[in-house]
Symmetry: C2
Subunit: 377 residues, 2 copies
């Protein structure tokens, strides 16, 4: 066990008790809604975290990269959904995962991709488990639930002997909500879009067993997910300032923070300089568009309590610039050189990606474990 | 040798010929100015790149983290400047590097840190090579060249038997310039600030042998660096869209790009979807404040030529959203699913940090080598 204040900085801290509470909150909510969970591991990229999320050691899980699929397959996970539309240059990699015994579900949203997959299946005998991506909110990919392409793709794949397993959507726009009522409405919209698409496929004679939705805000605020077969969510494990700004969590529920150390001061500007800059926090400025802009992060003491309304008002690669939220220069508290602070991140996914390990924070400011994580492709 | 179009995406491409030209440009400029070079390796974090930059296999180099110092020391580099003010919790690590035979120069900008270092030296016998950081432009740390603290720190350290080796500054504000004339003036300001500080230390009887300046813009546009003993710069090796926006390089001189693949379309919005999102590009939006906002990156063909004025107008974690710069929806070119594109990054430091290797691009769209790189602390 290492004492927190003995760590070299910057370091990524994971408050284990807060994480466990966040996981229990999601589990409890999904139990009430009567829906299965396929946790998204893109945020955590760690088997130590994922084991607390998964229903069984074999999964199911959702991934955002095939490197995630490789890593979790290496830890015995066999039921994996790759939730980004598939590209032809990844099919050899998909085949390698399938050869290891992984049931890897892929998604697509066009006839163009359907044709590429059928050509590949005909040329190589490769099999595919496919879901059609539905656009429930216009924020990026997917086809509209009432689009003609939905049945066209379903029929084309069925004729080729690759029956579509179901439909999937992600209400990414829920991140832009300004009230929890708006998140509830978005959860309804997400559910209705994908149920409408599933209904059309079923009317056309396809079984469509899978109806998959997911985002952390909609998963936690949905009132009713009848007809949905699985929920995907990932960021809820840690939460972050964007989620707090949405009203999805409280500040004191954020389980991830960056430990930084004071390296200097600019009293004329009201600044305290840290050794944690944008490389340590990521360049994510997700709270800039919210009611409360948290800069590059909210500065807390070693117990995780916000400190004198200080935020990272600026950042260079390895320098964090701490200032008062109001911009005030006079009366700034002096944090001596060597003082350690914990900085809550705007976005857990982008901040965690900057680190190769979690320093797991147990009771009493002790590091109880170090859990490896990975990044890249 | 792998053909470019066989790579799984996203991947980080490094155009070797362009990089070599960028390095020669900096070398040639510094030769003309008659000043030594201490390349900053924070951008590349790769011994394969750094070997082309260093004057000798032993250095000198500049680093932004002690992990960089560890890595380069492991490759035989012994003359290393850690250009972020030192914090007490890093002094054991510094001692370990010193024990390996590294001459590791540290910087400080306060009496507070001077006292911590003297206390450490007295308690443990550890020796330090120290430079005082000078603030030449108000952008972050350092003391003003005419501040009383300059001589106070110099005298205090000298009395403790730790003579100050010199002064150092970084004109980070040069990144905010809007003309190359403004960069030239910033180079004058950077030089004058540090020479003034060095002059004051010398008048007070200190030798002050090191006078160190550096940023890519000021290094390339300085007219005169008489009195400066070394220049530090790092991003020039690759360049990026921010540097092009400043007029420091041309778009076709950018050596770093991200290879991405088309995974779908939203014709109703004029969008093409890629498998390269903000995780692949980083969240850096450095061109947002420039005259030409390049979104999350400028989309090019496989030869690196800009493609139909397309940029990444948006990004999710693993999705890049390509659209026309003007926002036009009609008449968008159709890039078929599977098409590969090269995306030029806003900021080479933050984009490269997302990858564990460079795919080195030789002539004829062939990958001639794979060079490992690292991230983190």
């Amino acid at each position: 066990m290492t004492a927190l204040d003995r760590l070299e900085t910057p370091a990524l801290l994971l408050d284990e008790a807060a994480m466990d509470r966040n996981i229990e909150r999601m589990r409890s909510r999904l139990r009430q809604l009567g829906v299965a969970f396929r946790p998204h591991v893109k945020t955590n990229k760690s088997i130590d975290v994922a084991r607390r999320l998964m229903e069984t050691p074999q999964g199911p899980i959702t991934v955002s990269t095939l490197l995630e699929a490789d890593y979790f397959a290496g830890h015995g996970v066999t039921d994996i959904l790759y939730a980004v539309c598939i590209a032809p240059n990844k099919l050899d990699h998909v085949a390698a995962l399938q050869a290891r015994g992984v049931r890897l579900s892929l998604i697509l949203d066009s006839m163009e991709t359907a044709r590429l997959l059928v050509a590949r299946a005909e040329a190589t005998g490769q099999r595919f488990d496919l879901l059609i991506e539905i656009d429930s909110d216009g924020h990026r990919s997917g086809i509209k639930p009432d689009a003609g392409a939905l049945l066209e793709i379903g029929r084309y794949l069925d004729r080729a002997g690759i029956p579509v397993q179901g439909v999937l959507t992600h209400a990414g726009s829920s991140y832009d909500s300004t009230t929890t009522d708006a998140i509830r409405r978005m959860a309804d919209q997400e559910r209705d879009a994908v149920l409408h698409a599933a209904g059309r496929l079923r009317e056309a004679g396809f079984a469509c067993p899978v109806v998959s939705v997911g985002s952390t805000p909609t998963a936690l605020f949905a009132d009713n997910l009848d007809g949905v077969t699985e929920v995907r969510a990932g960021v809820f494990v840690f939460f972050d300032l964007v989620m707090a700004g949405l009203g999805v969590c409280r500040i004191d529920e954020i389980a991830l923070s960056v430990l930084g150390t004071v390296i200097g001061h600019r009293p004329d500007k009201g600044w305290t300089l840290l050794d944690a800059g944008w490389m340590a926090m990521s360049r994510d400025r997700g709270t800039a568009a919210q009611a409360v802009d948290q800069g590059y992060g909210l500065v807390c003491d070693l117990d995780g309590k916000p400190l004198h309304d200080l935020i990272l008002v600026g950042a260079n690669q390895e320098h964090g610039i701490v200032g008062h939220r109001s911009g005030q220069v006079e009366g700034a508290v002096h944090l001596p050189v060597g003082t350690q602070v914990r900085i809550l991140p705007n976005h857990a996914c982008s901040t965690a990606a900057q680190y190769g390990r979690y320093q797991v924070l147990g009771p009493g400011r002790e590091i109880s474990a170090t859990w490896p994580r990975f990044s890249g492709w």
